[in-house]
Amino acid sequence: MYVRFDVVKKLGDFTLEASGELRKGLTCVVGPNGSGKTTLFKILAGLLKPDRWAVEYVGVGVRTYVGELYVPPDAIALEVALAGRSRFSSLPVGKRDEEAVRRYMRLLEVEDLAKRRWRTLSGGQRQRVVIAAALASEADLLLLDEPLANLHGDWRSRVMNVLSDYAATGRIVAVTTHHGDVLRCCDFVIALREGRITWSGAAGDYKESLDSSCDRGTKN
């Protein structure tokens, strides 16, 4: 199972021109603001139509992209996490969906918040509920745009560990992040800069290339 892409997308002055591959495991896409991370993810999720377009999804059944999610302030957390289950059937959510979703909420330690109103949750708690919703989709290809936003220190690596475990069950998980400290949890790294892929490969090699670039004094 893999996703191979070769896409070009022009947005005003900005052009994304990227080709590469996502494989089973956890891929971290890094790069400064405006480097094209979100654009690439939206294209891979099928939400944005690129100008030139060649994406091959081999063996991928369902895919899920989670970026920004509007939530009405009065919604309760469990209902938000249930959003991920919507693809499975057309019927209203049942007891079995609730149990499955609660399992993922427990992984992210937000099960106690299930009955709480959205407006009463902190940014970090909301973020964990949204990640639980993403995992509850049980998609083969999971694209998470900035899943570590609003999360602090310890929780950043814990969320990455949860995602890594999920990927280890034979699925493709890709996340965008600008937190360098979590890269050790990733299997692969893709580095973007001004719409182009400047580096891609196994995460272990990326750390070495980082170190060597630091040696040369070209910071970033």
């Binding site: 939400l47 369902v62 999610l69 939530v71 289950r85």
Partner: protein
């Protein structure tokens, strides 16, 4: 909660059948009160469900077919098609078809607007559409002879007594039932629209199809209601919010049955009240607006405070 609602609605339905100045006269029950009671259930359920769908797809807690002008525009096109036939001799589309076209057009416009503008803009546009529709209606009525106006004015104000007996009434009720069932089987996808169309698509829902379901169901729901009992107001606003308040839930698929039940109960209760409690019968909208307007005001206040 569902059982309680079923009992309450059945009680109200029986009361609507049995109570009245003529007592329990079998003929009056069959010819007058039964169509009226069925009309209240059909109208109440369809309006409640349409309100819930519009609130979800527009992401607007104040969405209601009447407030947003969908009902007003539907009655305008329904009467417009009648007038064009009467006065100009164009082929008669039928009151129902006219109402359906109007409801569909208004729903599509509101949804298109909602993807580009904030919820207060959508709300104001709906209110303006409603005002404009009723003004144009009044002007159009100048074209009719005065002796016909009495009946039409009753229809314009919304009354469950306008529901037709016999085959047309049965067909209308069956259409309503079909809409309710079709929506039930697509609810989970529709419910995710509350997070925005793009987010819904990202979560694996066919968002375009879900929006089409909302447009179709809301348009048929409001169109059928308006054509059969006129523009009855505020049930579409009150029923979903009462359902959320009673269940403590928010998602459309978790409050759907309660919303439908409360829509029917509200319509029956309001009709009983205007029929029995007042010295002279008034349009049911008078009572619904008295309850609905402060409720809408309260919701608006909560929304504004949160911004």
């Amino acid at each position: 909660m569902k059982v309680l609602l079923l009992v309450a609605t059945s009680l109200l339905f029986s009361a609507e059948l049995l109570l009245g100045p003529a007592g329990a006269d079998p003929y009056v029950i069959e010819a007058v009160r039964l169509p009226r009671a069925v009309g209240a259930v059909v109208g109440g359920v369809l309006l409640g469900v349409s309100g819930l769908l519009l609130q979800t797809a527009l992401r607007n807690p104040l969405a209601d077919p009447y407030v947003l002008g969908v009902s007003g525009f539907a009655i305008l096109t329904a009467l417009g098609s009648y007038l064009l036939w009467r006065l100009v001799g164009l082929p008669y589309l039928g009151f129902y078809t006219g109402a359906l076209i109007g409801a569909l057009a208004a729903t599509v416009v509101l949804l298109l607007l909602a993807s580009r503008a904030g919820i207060l803009v959508v709300l104001m546009t709906g209110v303006l559409l409603s005002y404009a529709s009723f003004s144009v209606l009044q002007l159009m009525l100048l074209a009719l002879p005065p002796e016909e106006l009495g009946y039409i004015y009753v229809g314009l104000q919304g009354s469950f007594a306008a529901y037709l007996a016999g085959v047309p009434g049965v067909v209308t009720a069956l259409v309503a039932f079909a809409v309710i069932v079709a929506v039930f089987f697509n609810l989970r996808h529709v419910a995710v629209l509350i997070h925005g169309e793009e987010a819904a698509a990202g979560l694996g829902v066919n968002a375009k199809r879900a929006v089409m379901y909302v447009v179709g169901a809301a348009a048929v729901g409001v169109g059928v209601t308006v054509a059969s009992v006129g523009p009855v107001g505020f049930i579409g606003l009150l029923a979903p919010h009462m359902a959320r308040w009673l269940t403590g839930r928010h998602r459309a698929d978790l409050v759907y049955v309660e919303t439908a039940g409360l829509g029917a109960a509200l319509a029956l209760a309001a009709d009983l009240a205007v029929r029995l409690l007042l010295p002279r019968e008034l349009p049911v909208n008078v009572l619904l607006s008295l309850v609905g307007a402060p409720a809408a005001g309260w919701l608006l206040w909560r929304h504004v405070r949160k911004i």
